[in-house]
Amino acid sequence: MLAGAEGEAVQRAVAYQIEVGRFFGAERLVPVTNAHMMGDIEVLGDTGLAFLQEMQALGARARIPITTNARCIDFAWANKLGQDPGECAKEKQVIGALQGMNVLTTDTCINYQTLYQPHLGERVAWGDTGTCIYANGVFGARTNFESGPAALASAITGRTPAYGFHLDEHRRGSFVVDLSGATLADLADWGAVGKLVGESHQSYYAVPVFTGFRRTPLADELKQLGCALASYGSMGMFHMVGVTPEARTLEDALCGSVATAVERVAVDDAAIDTVYRGYSLGAGDARLVVFSGPQLSLFEMKQLSLLFAGRTVARGTSCFVTASNGVISASRKLGYLAPLEAAGVIVLEGVCFYILQNLSVMREKNGWQNMVSNSAKIVNIIGAHRFNTILRRSADCVEIACTGRLT
């Protein structure tokens, strides 16, 4: 590959992978079965679009299945949201270039719920960070954070450099988090745990081991936990004793006996309440409520549909939900979409709110100051657009959306 026998696109891709691997001391490339990449015009810019088009022109073609993360434009809503027509046209060029390289433009950040579930030990090349931590933690698959160019390179070569979470030594739990005092009744509570644990242990190689939770957590709950750990802590792996496959026991998660010196922390209901109380209400307006980042599963759509049934989003307030084509399609079929649309909720397809093209302009035009969400990840991640953000539980978010009152 490196000698160019498989063409210049493959040569460039593998040379890039070798350079990245060299930084981390990787000794080899390993085969991967699946890739998942971010690639949208908001983050690519003109330089990134030109890169994709050049790679396509050089004959780049994915040799393993590769899917795309959420993008920045739902073309059905672009005009209404005031998104830039020129950027919309470029987004279509991005999609064209990716499809021309055999990339499946699925546009979802929850591929692990909706598209592909790798098995224990399976090596993949996934980004965004929420997909990575879910693959490592919940499935026991092996991946590093693979950004757009890295995941695309993996799909082109069918390989990835073996460093980080491809190696046993980095998968070992590094500290223990006791959840026995936490009720965790709402998805936002799981995100709050991720915030508390992530912020206090910021490191890609910090691997929390959760213990003490008294029921089986649901996939959506582990999704919120993982996304928040990755977002606040830049973490790519976690264990939950008795739940995740590399943590049948605490000793299993720590790869040996439990040292008395191992760091132990606890997150309980009081700590989670402190998280909610920690958000400033800013100017006190409640004109933007967002359910996004990560996209919603079918089960979350059902829950929201029940909470919004018979209600209406308050005048002057905007409420957004983002989900994949598949989840929206199923929601429509099952009758979950109609109550949301009747309430005035804007349901966007294939996007995530925080990456929407022109979001800063949208914020100014609509006079949005506070953004309320039940996702701890999006509350953290949207800051560069100058939102004041507030985390609230799901039902509280619905109440805020329908009353216009921030609590």
């Binding site: 001391g25 971010m38 810019g45 330089t47 980004g127 950004s147 890295a150 890609y204 800051g383």
Partner: protein, 142 residues
Amino acid sequence: MSDTVLASVSLARAFGPMVEGEAVLSEEGFSPRYDLDRWTGYITKPGHKLEGTNIKDKICFFPTAKGGIAAGWAFNDIKGKGIAPKAFLFGVTNPVMVQGAVLANIVISEGWSQDPRQVFRTGDWVRVDPARRVVELLRRTG
């Protein structure tokens, strides 16, 4: 290379060409998506320790990386827009930052022999030599 080196810090891992520039030291981690206005080069996240600082052409010291898959493309994007820093020097980073920096050919490093805040100040003129894995103080600010 004949400059007088006033002080230096060794780097554990580094990539890219040798560069010189003005140092910006942060007490807080960094993500191009969470913290940076990628159209101006200013750090705009409310409350970030460097809020209001422009990182264009700077040698940036960040203790940690935050998030975030966006850096893979974002570094290339800000370089194309002419607003990229000359180097990202992290205490602890993540693969995305490295993948992005390699694509954009921006200097990146991880790991310090000592806390750079004890050696350098924002505004100092420093040189980063990835091949020798070192960052050197050439001129003291003020």
